[in-house]
Structures are given as structure tokens and as C-alpha cells.
């Protein structure tokens, strides 16, 4: 385990965490509910040495194009400058703190706050303050007011294969290093061709964001919670698949290949485990058909990038899910559905049809919203109690797993989270 840049151990503001074990196989409920933990997460994770997903290059193709987005709970404006470079600035006026850019998207030469009309360049510089010199020698700002100190806070931005990330910290390693070889490889695979945004979905979940991060890294819940898959014979734990993580275990790729298992074996296994016995058929099976488009034959790839993004390929449905937070007990998932510019009309229609499987009404994803809220509701009243993360064993976390009956990447998430937060258990096993 290499030394992490910008990491400050044992942060003084962090409440004491009573880890029942040192390998993250038990997680105290306090971590999902304590408001002090939440405040510190904004500082140490979202404003810390991490790269947060902010958007796709294709969403701001032309100079002056902007979108508004979030890193954790901090509002961000992402703009394309005249010279084609991309700027991410905090969407909070340097004057009295108002939201500057209210629209979700648009094109502009500058960003002007409506309150007192302070005017900011796309890169955040404060350009103009109305009545700065007062009127007829009276009023106005003091002579020593320095506009260069009151711009919109500018973040570092980097792009990998057209996917844009931003960081608040100067200490964050390069985006490529942050992703590491496995995730660089996955991004290169998924974004090999120019993409086209097909639309957005949003889902507001009333639970702590980390329940979702776990959900994305919990490899085996899919075929139990999302019964559509088993009832209609899609993704199942018996298929070939597994996990890949980076050396820090902060990111995770859950992958599977369909049609690599046996119908009979699957039915018997599920019967033995008392899951469900009945198999149904769709009257119109078009939506579950996979049109092979990747050479590796992988049909399911759920790629969680620490701390705020999941990039998914579920058959031919492709999307980035971004986490936007509004408090310890509420977050929004912002899904950007995409295809490729060179998709045939038939392929585009197929992707639009397969959007039925994902998002807030997704046939194989709607349950996640409910599962997270159930966990959030019951855990607040007993914050010393803890959850169990032990499917796939405990102890040291491997980088690669060759089966799907595990939730080990959740432990990887907690291991990295705890390093950033300064709350590692003594003798932490990562």
C-alpha cells in the first residue's frame, strides 16, 4: 500500500469511531448519521485529494457553453472557455454568497450574479462590480478593494476520454494516476468513440449517500434484490464475472458476461437457496436483448469511481450516475444516459428501450432506492450497532475477485474513506 498524497491522518475534528473489527467487515451506523461526520466528509472527501465527476465534454461542446453541477453538496459551474479549455468554478458569488448561475445549462460570455450584478469571467475572475467607484464621488467600494481576491473559486479540471473530473485540492495526483490502469482501461473501452447524451434521469433518495456507494459495490445483491433479473433470466450470480479494484480499493468494477451459465444449474441453485423458483417470460423480450458491441463480450459493468460517480453498462444501456448531496439523509442521483455519435437509429432506439432497466423506474434498479431508505430509517436510532460486510470473507482486501458472491469492494470503499477521514481502526487491514 503506497503513501497517499495529501492525506492527513487522525483528523482532529473527526468523532471517535468504534470499529468492532479492523478490516472494515463491521461498519458502525454512526458513520451514516452523525452530522459532524457529514460536515467533515464535505471537507476531507469532496474537497479533499479526490477527483469528482462533473460532466462530459460533449455537454459543453462550444465556447461559452456551461452546465451547473455539484461536487458533494457544493454547486459548481462547468464552462468551456473561448480557447476551448474547461473551467470548473464554485457557483457561489464572491460578494454575498448567492448562487450565480441558476440555469442547468446554457451559453454565455460571462456569469453575472443577479443580486448586485457582480460579473465573473468563465474562469471565475471577478470582472466588474457595478458602482465600484460610487456615483458622483459618493459611495462605492473602498479604494483598497481588490477584485482579484473575490472571484469564483477555481478548481482543477482534467478530462479522461472526454469524461470531466474536478478537484479542490492541489495535492491530488493526476486524474490518470487517480484512476489507475484498470479504470483507465475501462474508460478507454467505454469512451473509445465520441458519445452523444440521450437524456437525464434523476432520483432523490432519502438516505445517507454511503449506503448507495455500498450498494454499487455490493456485487451479490443484484440477483436477490432485483428479482426482475432472476425472474426473467438475466444477470445471475452463476454467470462468469467478478470484481476489479485499484490498489487503494477505492474504485470498483463489477463485471459479468451473460450466457456463460446453465439455465438448469441456475434454477437448482436458486431453489436450494430458497430464492425463487418461478421463471417467467416477457411478451416482448426486445428490452433484454444484448446487441453485442464490445469485443470482450462483457454485458454488465458497474464501475464505481470514488467518491461520486458510477459509470454503468447494463447490456446496451450506458450511463454515468452522479451523486449530488443535500444533507446526511438525502441525495440525488443524476443519471446521464448516453450512446455513441455513430450509433445507427436502430441502436439508439435499443438504448432508449433499455433505459427501462435503469434509473428511478428501472426494472432492475428501482429497488435500490427502497433498500437504501429501509437501511437509513432503521439505523439512526442505534448508532453503536453495525452492519456486516463479510460476503467473500474478511481480512486483507484483494484487488481482483473471480466470482460474484461477494460484497468485498464495500470494505475497499470504507478503507479508503477512513484514510481520508482520519478514522482508521488501529492496525487497519486493507
Amino acid at each position: 500500500m503506497s503513501e497517499q498524497s495529501g492525506l492527513i491522518p487522525n483528523h482532529p475534528g473527526m468523532p471517535g469511531v468504534r470499529w468492532p473489527r479492523n478490516d472494515y467487515s463491521r461498519v458502525p451506523y454512526q458513520l451514516y448519521h452523525d452530522p459532524d461526520v457529514y460536515r467533515l466528509e464535505q471537507e476531507r472527501i469532496f474537497k479533499g485529494p479526490t477527483w469528482s465527476y462533473v460532466g462530459l465534454e460533449v455537454e459543453i461542446p462550444n465556447p461559452g457553453d456551461f452546465i451547473t453541477t455539484f461536487i458533494g453538496e457544493t454547486p459548481i459551474i462547468l464552462s468551456r472557455g473561448e480557447d476551448n479549455s474547461v473551467y470548473a468554478v464554485v457557483n457561489r458569488c464572491g460578494h454575498r454568497g448567492s448562487i450565480v448561475r441558476r440555469e442547468n445549462y446554457g451559453n454565455a460570455k460571462e456569469h453575472i450574479c443577479i443580486y448586485h450584478r457582480w460579473c465573473f469571467a468563465l474562469d471565475g475572475k471577478l470582472m466588474g462590480v457595478p458602482f465600484e467607484r460610487g456615483l458622483k464621488g459618493k459611495g462605492g467600494m473602498d479604494k483598497d478593494f481588490d477584485k482579484s481576491e473575490h472571484g469564483l473559486r477555481k478548481l482543477r479540471v482534467e478530462s479522461f476520454s472526454g469524461v470531466l473530473f474536478a478537484t479542490f485540492s492541489d495535492a491530488t495526483e493526476s486524474l490518470a494516476d487517480y484512476l489507475g490502469p484498470v479504470f483507465q482501461g475501462h474508460f478507454t473501452r467505454l469512451f473509445a468513440k465520441p458519445v452523444r447524451v440521450l437524456g437525464y434521469q434523476r432520483q432523490r433518495i432519502y438516505g445517507n449517500w454511503k449506503f448507495y456507494m455500498e450498494n454499487q459495490r455490493d456485487t451479490y445483491h443484484g440477483s436477490l434484490l432485483h428479482e426482475f433479473q432472476a425472474v426473467f433470466g438475466l444477470s445471475r450470480v452463476t454467470q462468469e464475472g467478478g470484481n476489479k479494484m485499484d490498489v487503494h480499493h477505492r474504485h470498483n468494477l463489477t463485471w459479468a458476461r451473460s450466457k456463460t451459465d446453465d439455465d438448469k444449474e441456475f434454477a437448482e441453485l436458486y431453489k436450494e437457496n430458497k430464492v425463487h423458483e418461478e421463471q417467467l417470460k416477457l411478451e416482448d423480450p426486445e428490452i433484454i436483448k444484448n446487441k453485442r458491441e464490445f469485443e470482450d463480450g462483457i454485458t454488465l459493468a458497474i464501475c464505481g469511481i470514488f467518491p461520486n460517480a458510477t459509470v454503468h453498462q447494463i447490456s446496451n444501456s450506458l450511463a454515468v450516475r452522479q451523486l449530488r448531496m443535500t444533507g446526511p439523509g438525502e441525495f440525488e442521483l443524476y443519471w446521464t444516459l448516453f450512446g455513441y455519435v455513430d450509433d445507427s437509429e436502430e441502436m439508439t432506439n435499443h438504448r432508449l428501450l433499455q433505459a427501462n432497466m435503469v434509473g428511478p423506474a428501472g426494472l432492475i434498479s428501482m429497488e435500490d432506492g427502497e433498500a437504501i431508505e429501509l437501511a437509513h430509517k432503521a439505523t439512526g436510532s442505534d448508532q453503536d450497532a453495525y452492519s456486516v460486510i463479510e460476503m467473500g470473507g474478511h481480512g486483507a482486501i484483494p484487488d481482483f475477485i473471480d466470482h460474484r458472491v461477494n460484497d468485498t469492494p464495500c470494505r475497499g470503499f470504507w478503507a479508503y474513506y477512513s484514510q481520508l477521514m482520519g478514522c482508521e481502526p488501529e492496525g487497519a487491514v486493507r
Binding site: Y206, E332, L352, P360, L363, D368
Partner: protein, 157 residues
């Protein structure tokens, strides 16, 4: 049909639609759609940006039926009751027994503990048609203003 009778039967169809959903009679609700009917739930922001992706898209009645079967047999969702409120309708005569219908809707959800909240507001952009002596939907398009869906969307809007 004269226009008053038409307005009356379209209003009835929408009331029936809402009532059957609220009473959890999904299989009868399905009977309000013609074979070629489409059912789509799309966020208002996608419509405004001319982006095609939906939240739910059924391009024929078989797919609508598959959704209802999945809701019954496979999907797990928040335990709740729905109440649909549909506004007065605006109707356009398209010809050949086809009418375009627009209405606003609001859906409140009530938990099994008895607390209620507004779940979704938006507009219906529908097309209906006489099939034999019955008026049926050939298009149900739900444009959702509440595009940040609270928790999840299972039971139809």
C-alpha cells in the same frame, strides 16, 4: 359522436385510468390501451432539451403488460397507496376517430403508516381512439415536472 358526448367519454376514460390505478387494478387498467398503444414517462427537462430518453418507455401494449407483470411478480418497491388527480381536459380532433387530449395530473402517495405527500406533478399528452364501441388510449405520454423522482417510480403515473 357529437362533441359533448366525446368530451364526456374522454373525461370518463381518464377518470377510469386514474381510478383503476388507485385501486391497484393494473390488469384492468391495461385494458384501457389499444394493441399499438405506447406508454411513456419522460422528464420535462428532457422534453425541453429535445433529448429522447425516458424514465419508462413501452412501445406497444405487450411491453405495458410486461411492466405490470414485473410489478406483480418481480419488483419490490415502497409500500404505499396512490391517488391520482386529473385536471379538466383539452381536446383536439385529429380525425379518423382519433383525439389528442391534454390534462394536468398530480399523484399523492400515502405510506402504510398514513402519511401523505405530493409524489408527482405533470401533464398527460394522450391520444385516444374509438376501437369498436370503446374509447382506448393509443398514446399515453406522461411529462413529469417532478423529474427528480422521490425514492423510486413503480406504480404507473
Amino acid at each position: 359522436m357529437n362533441s359533448e358526448a366525446t368530451m364526456h367519454s374522454i373525461t370518463n376514460l381518464l377518470a377510469e385510468y386514474a381510478g383503476l390505478l388507485d385501486e391497484d387494478r393494473l390488469e384492468e387498467w391495461l385494458g384501457l390501451f389499444a394493441e399499438e398503444a405506447t406508454y411513456q414517462v419522460i422528464p420535462r427537462e428532457n422534453v425541453a432539451r429535445n433529448l429522447p430518453a425516458s424514465i419508462i418507455l413501452c412501445t406497444n401494449k405487450k411491453m405495458i403488460r410486461d411492466r405490470t407483470v414485473s410489478l406483480r411478480e418481480a419488483n419490490l418497491y415502497n409500500l404505499h397507496y396512490d391517488r391520482h388527480f386529473v385536471s379538466a381536459i383539452r381536446v383536439n380532433v385529429d380525425g379518423d376517430g382519433v383525439y389528442s387530449v391534454r390534462a394536468n395530473y398530480a399523484v399523492y402517495q400515502t405510506t402504510i403508516e398514513g402519511s401523505s405527500k405530493l409524489f408527482s406533478v405533470g401533464a398527460y399528452h394522450d391520444r385516444v381512439k374509438m376501437v369498436g364501441d370503446r374509447l382506448l388510449f393509443i398514446q399515453k405520454q406522461v411529462i413529469v415536472d417532478t423529474s427528480s423522482i422521490p425514492t423510486l417510480l413503480a406504480t404507473p403515473l
